[in-house]
């Protein structure tokens, strides 16, 4: 943020960073082979649903786009509004690459509709060998991923596991370098 922005007061949303979403496709190979982390066959993209005339139409079109882009198995899409008034577009597909492509299609459609800055993040759901959930969250504004592992208690997260994941995945993914931006996402509906 430049000096002039500070003086004049910046009032624009940050644009999405260069898209590094597809790094997830390649990293997933490592997840499977070395870390025995498997996809739960579901991913979500979270955005603010604006109350404008064209937004609902864009959202409706997105579903068709996603269902059209999936190669063979057919991605199923559902939408859900969470308790914070954010909209989740939830994609289900056992083919992980199709999930990444689908998420990218949703963000692309929002971007094309002029609502790219409304996207909060994308979430990919995984589970480890013992079936415990873990999530990788992609922050569009930062163009970076970070792990999110819910802990046992209410609103607790397993920081140790998250940090270990970061070390294990290493250079495979662009990982958010500032730990204070590893924002948790409670009540993930996937």
């Amino acid at each position: 943020m430049g000096l002039f922005d500070i003086i004049a007061g910046k009032r624009k949303l940050a644009r999405p960073a260069p898209d590094r979403l597809f790094a997830m496709s390649t990293a997933y190979v490592t997840f499977q082979t070395e870390l025995s982390i498997a996809t739960r066959g579901v991913a979500g993209i979270v955005f603010q649903a604006l109350a404008t005339a064209d937004f609902e139409q864009i959202a409706q079109d997105m579903i068709e786009v996603v269902e059209g882009t999936s190669s063979d198995s057919g991605t199923r899409v559902e939408t859900r509004d969470d308790e914070y008034d954010y909209r989740w577009m939830i994609l289900r597909d056992q083919d992980f690459d199709d999930l990444v492509v689908g998420v990218n299609a949703v963000s692309g459609a929002l971007e094309a509709g002029g609502y790219g800055d409304r996207i909060l993040c994308a979430v990919f759901a995984f589970e480890d060998a013992r079936g415990r959930p873990l999530y990788w969250i992609y922050n569009y504004k930062r163009g970076a991923f970070y792990p999110f592992v819910p802990g046992t208690g209410d609103h607790e997260r397993n920081h140790e596991r998250e940090l270990r994941l970061k070390a294990q995945v290493g250079a495979e993914l662009p990982i958010e370098s500032e730990l204070e931006r590893w924002f948790p996402l409670w009540g993930i509906p996937i």
């Binding site: 940050a14 504004k141 948790p184």
Partner: protein, 298 residues
């Protein structure tokens, strides 16, 4: 072709803000010139010391003065989650989150940089507002953080503080007598006179600057949440209950008042010129213009 953002630009506001800062700089340059010409420059050093103490100690003092306490995500999960999502949207690191236990609905942000910021909401505001309205208010405070308004206002008021001190010290030392024996340099009386003028002018300019930054924060909140009308609703609710609830013990400093979502002593009789916050109707009008931009941009 993708539209760059959902909202238009606000060149007018930026111009007014830059002009105000320019005028402040001009007034301060006169003050510095006179003070140094008079040979009382030690005063500047003295006040600069006080200023530094103010910058580094004010956060904790302000929180303490408000009876606010930092809360963990377990204590206030909803508020934390709301702030976290807004931070992702605004591309900010997460500030500390505090809650003040008072029925007066209000919120404020402090901290000289985004990394050291704290946003605070009162228990009153959390009870009064719906989640989307509270979200608008917190986004307003986060925009203050993003715009570094605490730092800007503190630096902008630095020389006004110096002028105020010079007036006090000057009378304390009994004016004229001490200091410059040089006939060409202005006497203490002149320095005091200039300081008074500088203080009055810079006070008015600072109030104007504060109002502009308030508008900017409203706008920023609308941009972050995408719901200008929710913030309008929140402002109307807050101002409504502000009038109903008696003013409790709230001797917050004036500097702090600039960062409230709503000024604690908003008297209708006060002239706009002397107010840190724009009048409610103007803020609502600005927000409804944003709402129609958003809807019209469709």
């Amino acid at each position: 072709m993708a539209r760059p953002t959902s909202f238009g630009r606000d060149t007018g506001l930026q111009l007014r803000m830059t002009l105000t800062l320019f005028l402040l700089g001009l007034v301060y340059a006169v003050l510095i010139g006179v003070v140094f010409a008079s040979g009382y420059s030690f005063l500047v050093v003295l006040v600069a010391g006080m200023f530094l103490i103010q910058v580094f100690a004010s956060d904790k003092l302000a929180l303490h003065a408000m009876g606010a306490r930092e809360v963990t995500p377990q204590e206030a999960p909803q508020l934390h989650a709301m702030v976290e999502r807004l931070c992702v949207q605004a591309n900010l690191p997460k500030p500390r989150v505090a809650v003040a236990n008072t029925p007066m609905p209000n919120a404020f942000a402090i901290g000289r940089s985004p990394k050291k910021a704290t946003v605070c909401a009162t228990t009153g505001i959390m009870e009064l507002l719906s989640p989307s309205e509270l979200e608008g208010v917190m986004a307003h405070e986060l925009t203050h953080v993003q715009n570094r308004d605490v730092m800007v206002m503190t630096i902008a008021s630095f020389f006004a503080t110096i002028a105020a001190y010079i007036v006090q010290f000057g009378f304390f030392f009994g004016g004229g007598g001490m200091g410059s024996s040089d006939d060409d340099s202005p006497s203490m009386a002149v320095v005091i006179l200039v300081s008074v003028v500088v203080y009055v002018i810079s006070f008015l300019l600072l109030q104007a600057l504060s109002r502009y930054r308030e508008f900017a924060a409203d706008r920023g909140a609308a941009v972050i949440t995408g719901r200008p009308s929710a913030l309008s609703a929140a402002l109307m609710k807050i101002s409504g209950s502000m009038e109903r609830i008696p003013q409790r013990d709230l001797r917050a400093s004036e500097e702090l008042a600039a960062f409230y979502i709503f000024p604690p002593h908003a008297k209708q009789s006060l002239m706009n010129l002397f107010s840190t916050h724009p009048p409610l109707e103007k803020r609502i009008a600005a927000l409804s213009r944003l709402e129609s931009q958003l809807q019209g941009a469709a």
